[in-house]
C-alpha cells in the first residue's frame, strides 16, 4: 500500500547519510521491520525492486529482519509475545498497551562492495524479505 512512499523514505534517509561514493558502492540494505510497523515486507521488496529497476541502484538488495511483537504486563511484570494482535497477558488476562518490541522500522546497516575485494559472496540475492509470520 504505502510501501512506495516508504521506499522513497529509505532512499531519502540513505541520501542524507551516505556519501556519493558510498551510494555508488551500495550492495545491500538491512532493515529491521517490527510486526506492528504496518509494513508488509513482500510489498516493500516489490516496491523497492520496481523503483530501483534501471537506475544505478538496480541490483541493490533489500533484506528485512522481522521483529516480533511483545508487550509488558503491568500485573505480573512479564513480557509476553503478542499473538494475533491480542494485547492481553496470557497469564493474568490483563489488557496492556505497553509494547516492548515490534514497532521498529529501521535501516540497520548497509553493505558496500569494495573494489578488488570480494563481498561475502554467499549472500543469496534478492527476495529475502520473508512475510511476517502469521500470528
Amino acid at each position: 500500500m504505502h510501501e512506495i512512499s516508504l521506499v522513497s523514505s529509505i532512499w531519502k534517509t540513505l541520501d542524507a547519510t551516505l556519501s556519493e561514493s558510498e551510494l555508488n558502492a551500495l550492495k545491500l540494505i538491512r532493515l529491521k521491520v517490527g510486526a506492528l510497523a504496518n509494513v508488509e515486507p513482500i510489498l516493500l521488496d516489490s516496491a523497492f525492486q520496481a523503483i530501483t529497476k534501471n537506475t544505478r541502484f538496480d541490483g541493490v538488495e533489500l533484506r528485512c529482519t522481522l521483529i516480533p511483537a511483545t508487550a509488558h504486563c503491568e500485573s505480573c511484570k512479564d513480557i509476553f509475545p503478542v499473538n494475533n494482535y491480542r494485547f492481553i497477558c496470557p497469564t493474568c488476562d490483563q489488557p496492556t498497551s505497553d509494547v516492548r518490541s515490534g514497532e521498529e522500522f529501521l535501516i540497520e546497516n548497509v553493505e558496500f562492495s569494495t573494489e578488488g575485494e570480494e563481498l561475502n559472496s554467499n549472500h543469496k540475492p534478492n527476495k529475502s524479505c520473508a512475510p511476517i509470520p502469521n500470528q
Partner: protein, 308 residues
C-alpha cells in the same frame, strides 16, 4: 495496491535536507565485516552534519557523540525510516500546542461515513467550538464543499492519488487555514484504513471509523488502525438489522487490540448519536487550553525505539 503519482526515482541529491536527523552511527571497533552490531536502545537526538571523515583507525569512542565508522564493507546506520515524517509531525504538534488548537485525525475506508459524521458534528456543536476541517478524502472539492455549506472553513488537499496523508502535507494545509480563534481542526484522511495508520500527522487525538457494512472482522484485518486510535466510531448502525455485523463482536476484537479505545455508535439519520463525541470534543479542547497535555495516545512514540 495503491499507486503514487509522485516521482519516487531514487535520484540522489546533494543537499542534505535534514538538520536534525536522529541517526545513530555505531562504532564497530575492530569488527569483522558482516558481524551484527548492537544498536543503542535510543538515539540521542543530536543534530549534526555528516562530515564523512572516514577514519578507519580506532578512534576515541565517546558514547555521547554520534559517531560513525565505515568498515570496508558495512556501514552501521540506526535510522528510523519514518524520522522525517515524525519530525514534521512534531512540528505540527508544537504549532498546535502554541495555538491551543486540538488536532484530530479521522481515518477509515472510503464511504464509511467520515464526512457525514463531520457534518452532524458541526451541526450538533452549533457554534460552541470554532472548528475547521482539512479534507484529504477526495481529489475533487466535493467533501470540502459539503463542510463549507455549514459555514465552516475547509481546506481540500489535492492528494493526487496518494493513499495516505503525511505530516508535511498537513503542515502545508495548515498554512492555508486561518487558525485565528480556532478550537479544533479535524483532518479527514484519505479513504483507506491501512496506509494512513502508519503516519503520525501531529494529531492529539485519532479517530477510526468502521461501518456496519464493512464487516465485524475488520479490527484484526487492519489492526494497526485500531491499535493507534483513541476513539472507534462504529457507523451506519441504522443498518444493523440488514447486515451481518455484531457491534459486540467488533468492539470485543477492537478492545483486544487496544483496551484504551473508546467506542461510540453513529447513525447519520440520528443526529443525537454524535452527542458522546461532542462531549469528548469539549472535554479535550478544555484540557488542551488548560495545558494539561494528554498523552494517552500512543502514536507519539511509534517508531522511536530501537530496543537493541
Amino acid at each position: 495496491m495503491c499507486t503514487n503519482t509522485q516521482s519516487v526515482e531514487p535520484t540522489v541529491v546533494n543537499n542534505h535536507y535534514h538538520t536534525h536527523n536522529h541517526y545513530v552511527y555505531n562504532f564497530n571497533h575492530g569488527q569483522a565485516p558482516g558481524q551484527p552490531v548492537a544498536i543503542p536502545a535510543h538515539d540521542h537526538g543530536h543534530s549534526h552534519d555528516h562530515g564523512h571523515s572516514h577514519d578507519h583507525s580506532p578512534t576515541n569512542g565517546n558514547n555521547e557523540d554520534i559517531q560513525r565508522m565505515i568498515s570496508p564493507h558495512i556501514g552501521q546506520i540506526g535510522a528510523n525510516i519514518l524520522s522525517a515524517n515524525d519530525r514534521d509531525a512534531a512540528g505540527n504538534r508544537q504549532r498546535m500546542r502554541n495555538e491551543n488548537i486540538l488536532l484530530i485525525n479521522l481515518i477509515s475506508s472510503a464511504g464509511s461515513g467520515k464526512t457525514s459524521f463531520l457534518e452532524r458534528t458541526i451541526e450538533a456543536l452549533d457554534g460552541r467550538l470554532k472548528i475547521a476541517v482539512i479534507e484529504g478524502d477526495l481529489e475533487t472539492e466535493r467533501d470540502a464543499d459539503r463542510i463549507r455549506k455549514h459555514g465552516i472553513q475547509a481546506y481540500q488537499i489535492e492528494t493526487g492519488g496518494i493513499c495516505h496523508l503525511e505530516a508535511n502535507v498537513v503542515e502545508h494545509a495548515l498554512s492555508h487555514l486561518d487558525t485565528t480563534g480556532l478550537d479544533v481542526i479535524i483532518i479527514e484522511n484519505v479513504g483507506n484504513p491501512v496506509c494512513p495508520a502508519a503516519f503520525d500527522l501531529g494529531e492529539d487525538y485519532r479517530i477510526c471509523m468502521l461501518a456496519t457494512t464493512e464487516g465485524d472482522d475488520k479490527p484484526k484485518k487492519y489492526p494497526e488502525l485500531f491499535r493507534r486510535s483513541d476513539l472507534l466510531v462504529i457507523s451506519k448502525t441504522d443498518l444493523i438489522a440488514h447486515v451481518p455485523f455484531s457491534i459486540e463482536a467488533a468492539t470485543k476484537e477492537a478492545l483486544e487490540i487496544n483496551h484504551q479505545l473508546e467506542v461510540i455508535e453513529f447513525a447519520n439519520n440520528d443526529p443525537s448519536s454524535v452527542d458522546p463525541f461532542i462531549d469528548i470534543l469539549i472535554d479535550r479542547v478544555a484540557k488542551k487550553k488548560s495545558h494539561h497535555h494528554d498523552h494517552s495516545h500512543n502514536h507519539d512514540h511509534a517508531h522511536s525505539h530501537t530496543h537493541a
